[in-house]
Amino acid sequence: MRFLSITLKNVRSFRSKTIEFRDGLNIVCGPNESGKSTILESILYAVAGEIEDVSSLRRWKSEDTSIHLRYKTDTGETYTVSRTISPEMKCRLENFIILEDPETILSTLRNHFGSIQKTVLESSAIVRHNQMEILRKMDSREIVKEQMRAALTGSETSTDEVITMLQVRIDEYQESLRDMDFKIENFKANLIPYAGVDEAYESLTSKIRVYEKDVKTRQREREMHTKKLLYNSTVKDVEEIQKRLEEIEDIESYREALPLEKIKKIEELENKRRRLEDGMESLISLIKEREEELVQIRKESDEKGFFSWFTSLFGKSKEKKDREKRAFTIEEVLKGYRRDFYELERKIEDMRIEKNDYINQIPDYKGKGVEYCCKVDGEYQKRIEELLKGLTKEELVQSLLRKREDADRLRGSIFTEYPHLLDMDDSDVTNERGNLEEMISMLKQEKEDSEAKFESVEIRKHEKERIQRELRALEAQNLDIKTRNEVDQVVLDTINEIYSELKDLFIPQLEEKAGQIMQRITKGKYMRILIGREDLGIRVELPDQLIDMKLLSQGTKDQLYFSLRIGLSELLSGGRNLPLLFDESFYTSDENRLKETFEVLEEIALNTQVILFTHNEDFLKYGNPIVLSEQMTLSDSVGLSTK
């Protein structure tokens, strides 16, 4: 596997940049901020497709950002993986065909690179900054652990740290569980004095409910008894009012029947008759007087004899004429008087007949006058007023109707619930009501007694419930911790199992791969690398001895380190010979060490592509130089020939 070129378009400081790589050792040199890290990040992003902040790769204000990595596989095929960041995230893999399906691209890249997880690549194919110096200071165990750490775990996390953390957590859980068991036992013990509280509570609640119901029932019964008494009283009122009204009606009919008018008429006729009779007497007197007067006049006429005969020969005398005239007048008057008299007589007779008619019509009142009738009428009126008692008759009728309605309503109500009451008389009803009063009073007292007991039981019940709630919370917490404990135990056991298997598999393979590389780059001086299974200590094998790593020279240690790193890279990539990328890895090394290091790198570069990013122009002589400059932003930079 080797990288052929990388093209950056609008990636950070690069508007358009292509870097071409060659086999062997490539030295990418440029000052700070020239884009070395950008190229490395872009290579990593092109392969792994992941980066902490992908937007950080975009050139400021650009709308079109993309990375194109061209590489050749171990089988000789050339591919270009293109990742577009803006305007939208896209990926494409090109060979003779173009792949755009993400799953297919992922699968193909895995086929080419092995593990394409960023952390795995970083722990194997990439050597950062001063990792070399740090690793040089580590002892062998730490180197192996460090190699295994991110690579084996597959993340930044150390598996050993995870195992340690889980163990600590499990121990904490165990302690918490012990503590909690103790607390739970205490709570359970605290509940013992409250045994029976629930039953007492239920019993008292039920009792009080029964008392309440009984009291209500008895009160209702008492109410009905009261209603019955009221009903009886109302019925009596109705009867009384009815009686009064009947009497009033009777009296009114009697009043109507009073023949006052007839009696008045009789009296009137009587008075008229008397007046007429008085008149008649006067008339009789007058008639008598006139008759006497006439007689007198006639007598005077007769006494005058011869003289009057003599004078009559000479005609009537004035005196006679006057007498005759007077006599005539008196006769006329008498006629009138007699006529009047007859008239009066007739009238009196008519009146007498009429009066007798009236009297015959009212025989019971014969001899009774108007005064009598008025007196009787007055008595009737008085009686009516007594019966009305200040009301009008209409009001009394309305009162009767209301009383009847009340009685009907009361009756209906009593009949619905306690029909037997209707047949009971007042004294029995009153007696029963008295008994009910006593019963109600007794029930209320018993209810109060129960309520007093209930109060204290309720308090105890609430206390018990509080303890139970706390206990349940504790038990829930206990269960939660137990579950967590169980989960963590499963995780720990599984990780231990896997880790142990991995180590058992990994260490021998790493020994083999790294040993082969070590043998190659030391030209056979060191045959094998041995890693202790328990202590992870590294030893190298000379033909006749084993030497502990700490006894090796720094140069040999560098060789050993590179061997381990490349071996790890091959192991994790499934035997693929991935390029090694060094990012400012040797800037603290002095000249002698650098010389040794580059000798090793050159040796490695015979079989593995190495790309070294540095600011140190002195390194250019060691490999294929690729120079970056701040001025070189538009044109491609073509690598010079390797030495």
Binding site: R110, N111, G114, S115, Q117, V120, A151, L152, T153, G154, S155, E156, T157, T159, V162, M165, L166, T483, E486, V487, D488, V490, V491, T494, I495, E497, I498, Y499, E501, L502, L505, F506, Q509, L571, L572, S573, G574, R576
Partner: protein, 49 residues
Amino acid sequence: METSKGMKTVIEAFKEKMTDKIENERDEKRKEILIKALQRGTELLEGKS
């Protein structure tokens, strides 16, 4: 543990092993524990917890 795609990492192997255990588990309660363990272990190994 080793495949043509390279040596498996602890995370990958853990997920595989736990998934196998879950599929083969008959007891429902135990199965729930295993599912939680898968989630927990993955989070721990990925450094998310």
